[in-house]
Symmetry: C2
């Protein structure tokens, strides 16, 4: 008997499951339905379509050999039957039937299934504020919205835009609008940093500076309280602090799993909306699978389920569904949560838990911050890469790695290695010896992630005592917050002197590192010395020496001036 | 009592161990000796110094903050005593004394030690052929040789050069000579491919084509039988096939561990010369440690000891030595053997075992070859990356990953993730779900390594039957070797027709993939169909369909035309 497989959702996980099962069981009858007319597209490419990097939306839904992934394609090349503009209304699990509706004719119909797959995706969260329904307010929900946004810009209807939300999509959209179209763009984020909860403060501050240097206006700690309109069209966004004119508003305030049909059918669904699946991507009904942005998956670090709506995971989950539909015992064991993004000339990436997540999970979490060169420091194209490693002090387990660097694959090269390692429970000691392929054009002999682990190792064993960059900035903003601190600048004198002149000798001491062994007795005994160099490594050497000489009132500023240069500050000399 | 630590060898592992132990035990008395006058340099940077990318040799032995790592540096900044031009002659283990010789004065002296570290490095292998001693014949043994080579080129004394050895250093040197200096350079390799035993045939053939396109003459399967000279200076290199004029000859035929002093002292040394150490980098004498190019280390895939003379590992090993000297229980558990190299505009990298190594170790090894885009195929800067995954059919364990791509960090981003995973014993199934950070400017939703694992999975389960690229090339060179093969080209007709015209309809059939479901009955039943597309994935779909239709006389050419384009061939239409 021919197996009847019905798949709801045609963007990523759905088509992947459909094609995989057809390859494994060519005789299966596979039907894919989607309420949209456009299917199987690279949703993560939308910002690049809007920016113009990708000229035509059809590129987002074509194969690498330039064939459009439409109904014809799925039928002819894949043997999968596709019904677009078709909504799934409800599931009758006892009868194994799906009730569907043709959105064109309005006709309803039931489809029999042996196996059903839910790949119903996610829906953007819309802020419940006045004006959210105005013309010109968009979420990045689907390709139609993207086409409409680009159309408006191309027709010259958008002079000013406001992006609400400082997460990855918000930042990508801000770049898309500013970079190629020259739209005057503001971004507002209600937390006090970009990528809040996800990226450590220093790296996020570097991203913020780079966006501001690239002509994006950023307002942190501000929430959109109202979207203002005239004649039904948006004209501005109001925050408690200001009014920002806007012809276009992008709401990029997160997504929620779309799982109503699963919940209504009595399948197990988590409180926040993600469908609960096992490692074969089976729901609580063994005949029904689910994958993609509508499910929760195991977090390989915490062991708990989490929501990770990423296109790359959707594809992997979809393949596992396809395998299991055909009787192959594949599993999707979970993820650590990797992300990466471009913004103008820089990129930022992260894998695993952030410091906030780790502490919320009860880990005794701390982090190292390093700023070494991304390749041999003598190699002409080297650039500084700033790296954060989050670890558990009790178990020495590494919980997360984050990096900020120039726009190339140097961040990928570290984040991907870290993700592979994290998924296998790697410790700081694993990371000190992690084998990063070395040649001067690609890395330093001690690679960024090794260096990050070295510092983590020293912190974890209390050999290194640090202050964080955030603490340092607070002090520099207001010396009275730490009246007994004084900076011990161990860089060359010509680098340190402008700081001594600006902040005074009672806040800033210049003593180059090769002189400290002779001169350390001149240092003040009643102050806490904040040792300051370019990257932090020399400061650590000085800490070790001072400690051994009995001068223990000192702490290291990890990351040093390399990090400060990238964050910027009004107080810089 | 002050601990006396003596370290022999001042390039990478030695200085690292010295500095680390001084940070952990500032009171220790650490003496580093080296027979050379130049120490602590990035030996892997020598080709870039010779090419001119690195202007001055002092950059190779400076810190990232531009301080020269000389005796003064180690004394002032690190508290390490350094004696250059000092040779270690022998070890008296009973008395814990090292006999040394001042190479300037010739005076001998004994140094007492509590702990001794051997970081004696490696020595280039010199081919035992006539003329090897001629002026103008160099190995890349140390910085002095590099300075002399560059000096000769800069003074216009080198018009033609021959590099003997097609390994990484040979290729890097060929680039250095050709690229910036325009030296007419030939490279000879006695095996029939570049990077023999290390890199799969197809990827190696791509490297060969790129070098030839960049004006390096390559002679494979040729050995240097004699170096010819006149008046004591080299004038040519003779092979059984030809005589190549040369003002300069670089011998890059591998290195050997330098361990005579260890062997003479009765320490355990392997047959091939590597000093045997445990995971704390301790030799068979617990007071003597060893690290760097003079030791053998565990291979994390085979479990056996292997020789991995890489600067990055030397640093890691040196740090573990430093830890253990200070009583910290660190271990260096081994390596998988990662390597990466640049050659003009391309790069190649590998981690783990090659196919040859895997088979020699008794694995039931096979490999997948894929050629997808390195980022979203719609993203403007995407390039093809060719990837080989070697796996064990019995256990599904991945044994190695190799990649060839454009010169950026796209290969690093895959090789490093694979190395981390291999060191943890990852299987094909782990690799299918390996989480590569995804955004269109960085990767495809299904990343290169995931795609490689998909193909490996299908091969391993015998769902995919392939012929290798090497087999295909043999057939194209001589159809009579496989008289019943016929190519089934499923690309667009305009892509296939030049091939049909050139090879005839009895060798090449054009049938686009969207027509096969209707037209497959036209296919010849008495031939083996070699299914041919751009990358191999469409061919696999066709194989699945044909099999299901009962047409099982078919095999897939994995990698497809994307790979062939990069290898080149005289028979291409």
């Amino acid at each position: 008997m021919t197996e009847k497989i019905v798949i709801v959702g045609g963007v990523a996980a759905g088509p992947k499951a459909a094609c995989r099962v057809k390859r494994l069981m060519p005789q299966a009858e596979v039907t894919l339905i989607d309420q949209d007319s456009l299917i199987s597209y690279g949703g993560c490419g939308i910002p690049y379509y809007i920016s113009g990097d990708v000229a035509d939306e059809s590129a987002l839904r074509s194969t690498s050999f330039h064939v459009l992934r439409d109904q014809y394609y799925f039928e002819k090349y894949k043997g999968v039957k596709v019904r677009i503009l078709t909504q799934a209304l409800s599931i009758d699990r006892a009868k194994k039937q799906l009730l569907i509706k043709d959105l064109g004719s309005g006709a309803e119909e039931t489809l029999d299934y042996d196996k059903l797959v839910l790949a119903t995706g996610s829906q953007p969260y819309v802020l419940p504020i006045p004006g959210a329904e105005l013309d010109g307010v968009f979420t990045i929900a689907n390709l139609h919205k993207a086409i409409e946004i680009k159309d408006r810009i191309a027709k010259g209807k958008v002079g000013k835009a406001v992006v609400i939300g400082g997460g990855a999509i918000g930042i990508e959209m801000a770049e898309a609008l500013t970079d190629l179209w020259g739209v005057e763009t503001s971004l507002i984020e209600f937390k006090d940093q970009l990528l809040p909860g996800v990226i450590e403060w220093s790296l996020s501050a570097m991203m913020c500076k780079h966006l501001r240097d690239s002509n994006v206006s950023i307002y942190l700690g501000e929430s959109a309280s109202e979207i203002v309109g005239e004649g039904g069209r948006v004209t501005a966004v109001r925050t408690p602090q200001r009014v920002l004119d806007a012809d276009l508003v992008i709401m990029a305030t997160g997504v929620r799993a779309q799982s109503e049909i699963a919940r209504a059918a009595g399948l197990r669904v988590s409180d926040m909306g993600g469908i609960v699946v096992n490692r074969r991507m089976q729901t609580s009904d063994p005949s029904i699978y689910a994958a993609g942005d509508c499910v929760k998956i195991p977090n390989l670090i915490t062991g708990k389920y989490f929501y990770a709506p990423f296109g790359s995971l959707a594809n992997k989950e979809g393949r596992v569904v396809g395998d299991n539909l055909a009787g192959l015992p594949s599993t999707f064991d979970g993820a650590v949560g990797s992300f990466i993004m471009k913004a103008f000339d820089v990129c930022i990436g992260a894998t695993g838990l952030s410091l906030e997540m780790a502490r919320a999970e009860g880990f005794d979490a701390d982090f190292s911050l390093t700023a070494p060169a991304d390749r041999a420091h003598f190699y002409p194209t080297q650039e500084i890469i700033c790296c954060v490693m989050i670890f558990d002090r009790r178990t020495r387990k590494v919980l997360g790695v984050q990096a900020f660097g120039a726009m190339n694959d140097n961040v990928s090269a570290r984040i991907n290695a870290a993700a592979a390692f994290l998924s296998k429970g790697a410790t700081i000691d694993d990371f000190t010896n992690l084998e990063m392929a070395y040649a001067p054009p690609f890395s330093a002999a001690v690679d960024t992630v090794n260096a990050a682990a070295y510092v983590a190792d020293n912190l974890c064993d209390n050999r290194l005592r640090q202050i964080t960059m955030e603490e340092f900035y607070s002090w520099m903003d207001d010396f009275s917050t730490q009246p007994d601190w004084i900076s011990l600048d161990v860089r060359h004198e010509q680098q340190a002197l402008p700081f001594v002149e600006k902040f005074g000798a009672d806040r800033w001491i210049s003593m180059p590192d090769d002189r400290i062994r002779e001169r350390y007795e001149e240092l003040p005994k009643d102050k806490t010395l904040i040792i300051f160099c370019n990257a932090g490594s020399r400061s650590y050497e000085i800490q070790v020496f001072l400690d051994s000489a009995g001068v223990t009132n000192n702490r290291v500023l990890c990351g040093g001036f390399n990090v400060i240069k990238r964050i910027g500050a009004p107080w810089l000399p």
